[in-house]
């Protein structure tokens, strides 16, 4: 498969929520977008505009009301193990240890041997900087550490596409900056999965820090009102003038 072809695309995607009253609440009328191989795509939009919904459609967890989702050349109709979604909240299982939480994600894989599964679990716990915490339980970890576990769990499946739903928005600013930096380093390391990342966020700085390309989502029903490339050297410097020019530009678009 050529790398020019997108890894995932949404074609004429329309989505509406059915309300109890029988009315429907349109979220998207007609969304078209593509995620390319080796691309970090950022999507910004105000809270409630439909970012989470969009990611869940991309993950195959919900079907669009109409339109199609194409993943690696095939229509996506159910969750695919090659796509990982990391939720806004860590969503760890409280009664499983950190190790078991990560392991759970690959526990049902038939093509991997038991030893392979164990090795991968340890590898990714290590990668997010949590080795030593394998037998701890989620309640014993700080918010930032829980989010790291969630990241390890999302990566352990070696996904081609990683979907991040505001992964830093529940963290304090310092923890968030650290974790963002680590995600950036992981992204720069070509030996690690995934091939492509989509991150949605309402924080413009986060998106400028990480994304190669940014889509701005706005309105009800939401539309993609702008698209721009972030041409900054990595690792990116938050203090630089160019960085702020991008932030300003997107800010004007969003508001």
């Amino acid at each position: 498969m050529s790398n020019k072809e997108p890894i995932l695309s949404l074609i004429d995607v329309k989505f509406e929520h059915k309300l109890r009253s029988g009315r429907t609440l349109p979220i998207f009328n007609n969304i078209n977008l593509s995620v390319h191989y080796t691309e970090f795509l950022g999507i910004v939009g105000p809270s409630g505009c439909g970012k989470t919904t969009l990611l869940r459609i991309m993950a195959g967890l919900v079907r669009p009301t109409s339109g199609r989702v194409i993943f690696r050349g095939e229509e996506l109709t159910e969750p695919n193990p090659r796509i990982s979604l990391m939720y806004q909240n860590p969503t760890l299982i409280p009664w499983l240890s950190i190790w078991d939480n990560v392991y759970l994600a690959i526990s049902s894989r038939k093509e991997m041997s038991e030893i392979e599964k164990r090795e991968k679990t340890s590898l990714f716990i290590d990668l997010v900087g949590l080795s030593g915490y394998e037998s701890a339980y989620p309640a014993e970890l700080s918010g930032g550490m829980k989010q790291r576990v969630a990241l390890a769990r999302a990566l352990v499946t070696s996904p081609d596409l990683l979907l991040l739903d505001e992964p830093f928005s529940n963290l304090d600013p310092l923890t968030a900056i650290n974790l963002i930096r680590e995600v950036e380093n992981m992204w720069l390391d070509a030996s690690l999965p995934p091939a492509s990342i989509v991150m949605v966020s309402h924080s413009i700085e986060e998106v400028v820090q990480l994304a190669d390309r940014v889509l701005v989502l706005k309105g009800r029903p939401a539309e993609i009102i702008a698209e721009l490339r972030v041409e900054l050297e990595r690792p990116r410097n938050r203090k630089s003038d160019e960085f702020y020019r991008y932030v300003d530009e997107i800010f004007t678009l969003v508001s």
Binding site: K18, L19, L85, L92, A105
Partner: protein, 526 residues
């Protein structure tokens, strides 16, 4: 069957529903009266909760004969009617009161703060915030309350208690009349009429009420096909907007099932158990005094002693053990069908919309109307008496178990349900690693209520008296003893057994269920 037969059934039905309606309204009013202060004030909370807790542990059905004596003594004409309403009231009240209390406590503190800042008057706070917040919980208590109410309603009409003839017009008494006269068509028609009336009440009143009260719910977990948090918060926002306030974004923490929250803070008070024993003793004594007009305490003590002495320790002990065994077996049976069915319904949106209303109606058909059938099939053949008795207990407990499991399953945050989809977990893995642990607090709560219900049912299950017929287990049991004392009209015997049962239930709650509940809630906290 002639026209006047149908009229008779219709009259009986309307009487029964009227009685149920009155009792439910009374129960709601009293719940607001007690639950709101308890939810708002720590001091009231500390006094009221232990009392409610003990009173809900008293096996109501065991209590019924005493209540009947009491109300008939009070007013010979209206007595039976009042006793019946009282019985229904007590069978619905405790859950309702706890629900109101929990709902009031669960009002987000931001909302309370705002109402304090803008200095809302108490009456506005009540009408705009507190009562609306309690509404969804009250309404969601209606289906189990109706089921419960019908259960005790028909039980009170079907079962003979001692010499006194309790004659109230109702479905229960009509059905037992048909059973004793061997009128099969009358029996069938009245069961069908009853089921139809239940379905009618649910579709015309209860389900619309539930849909309507839904908009008052606080919820942050957005499940597919359900209105989001924003939508549900709307009424509260509107209220505050009309009060011309700037509203800060309201953040609500996702709470795991908050049923019986009080458990954890109550556990700290060590003196509680003593208080519980004191209150139950007082309740029994007061009731004994007022029913038998006896004022000299020594005589009571002597009588109680002689009851215990006549029975002997071994009989009491083996009765306790046997009763425990039957209840345990009944709970296991209830669990074994509830788990798979609840899992299926929780997993399957379509099953939920098509099965649930059906289950609702089936669950509301009062079990006592099946008692004559079960008695006939099992209890009369001595070999199956134990099995029949356990089945009777199952009839009285299974719905608590089922609904608590289903409720727990349905409250699992959507993201967690999706995990098993994303990671393609097998059904068994999903059930045991995600569903059951998440439902634990709710399940334990359900088991508490179920065992409470089971103790209640014992008085019927171990010895069923239908008119002149008696079906009883050959092995001993507390319910059997209670039933025998009731037949003898021995107030002291009844009091001793009810007291013993209450102590067992309370002690079991305190030393088994609560630690289990605390463990379960701690487990699901992340």
């Amino acid at each position: 069957m002639a026209i006047d037969g149908l009229i008779e059934i219709a009259t009986a039905l309307s009487f029964s529903w009227l009685r149920l309606g009155v009792a439910l309204l009374l129960s709601i009013a009293m719940s607001l009266l007690v639950g709101i202060p308890a939810g708002l004030s720590r001091t009231v909370e500390r006094i009221v909760l232990p009392i409610l807790d003990v009173l809900q542990s008293v096996p109501i059905l065991g209590f019924f004969p005493i209540a009947v004596y009491f109300f008939i003594a009070l007013n010979p004409v209206l007595g039976p009617e009042l006793a019946s309403i009282f019985l229904i009231f007590t069978s619905t009240y405790w859950n309702m009161a706890f629900s109101v209390y929990e709902a009031v406590r669960a009002i987000p503190s931001e909302l309370t703060d705002i109402s304090r800042i803008i200095d809302l008057s108490l009456s506005r706070r009540l009408s705009k915030i507190i009562i609306p917040a309690a509404l969804p919980r009250i309404v969601s208590q209606l289906p189990p309350s109706i089921a419960n109410g019908l259960y005790f309603l028909t039980a009170s009409e079907i079962i003979s208690f001692g010499e006194r003839q309790i004659s109230v017009i109702g479905v229960g008494s009509i059905i037992s009349k048909y059973v004793s006269s061997g009128d099969a068509s009358g029996l069938i028609i009245s069961v069908i009429a009853l089921s139809l009336s239940i379905a009618l009440v649910f579709t015309l009143i209860i389900n619309p009420l539930i849909a309507w009260s839904d908009k008052y719910k606080f919820e942050t977990v957005v499940a597919p096909g359900r209105p989001s948090a924003m939508v549900r918060i709307e009424p509260f926002r509107r209220i505050l907007t009309t009060l011309k306030t700037r509203i800060p974004p309201i953040s609500i923490h996702v709470q795991f099932p908050s049923t019986f929250v009080y458990v954890s803070h109550m556990a700290r008070h060590v003196q509680r158990f003593i208080l519980i024993v004191a209150i139950s003793t007082a309740t029994i004594i007061v009731l004994t005094l007022s029913t038998s007009y006896i004022t000299d305490v020594p005589k009571i003590i002597i009588n109680v002693y002689s009851v215990i002495g006549d029975l002997g320790f071994m009989v009491i002990f083996s009765s306790v053990i046997m009763s425990f065994g039957r209840i345990f077996a009944a709970i296991i049976l209830s669990l074994s069908w509830s788990l798979p069915v609840a899992y299926f319904i929780a997993k399957n949106e379509r099953a939920r919309t098509s099965f649930l209303p059906l289950i609702q109606v089936i669950a509301s058909i009062p079990a006592p109307i099946f008692f004559p059938l079960i008695a006939d099939a099992f209890l009369s053949t001595s070999g199956y008496a134990e099995l029949g008795s356990i089945l009777l207990i199952v009839l009285g407990t299974q719905w608590y178990v089922f609904y608590s499991i289903l409720g727990g399953f349905l409250r699992i945050p959507n993201e967690y349900r999706e995990l098993s989809l994303s990671y393609r977990l097998s059904r068994l893995k999903e059930l045991f690693m995600i569903f059951i642990p998440f439902a634990m607090p709710s399940l334990v709560t359900g088991l508490i209520t179920a065992t409470g219900g089971a103790w209640n049912t014992l008085v019927i299950a171990e010895r069923l008296v239908l008119g002149d017929l008696v079906f009883e287990t050959s092995m001993p049991g507390l319910g059997k003893l209670l039933s025998q004392f009731t037949e003898l009209g021995s107030i002291y015997g009844i009091a001793v057994i009810v007291f013993l049962m209450t102590i067992i239930v309370v002690a079991f709650n305190r030393f088994v269920w609560r630690p289990l509940y605390d463990w379960a809630t701690k487990m699901v906290r992340s």
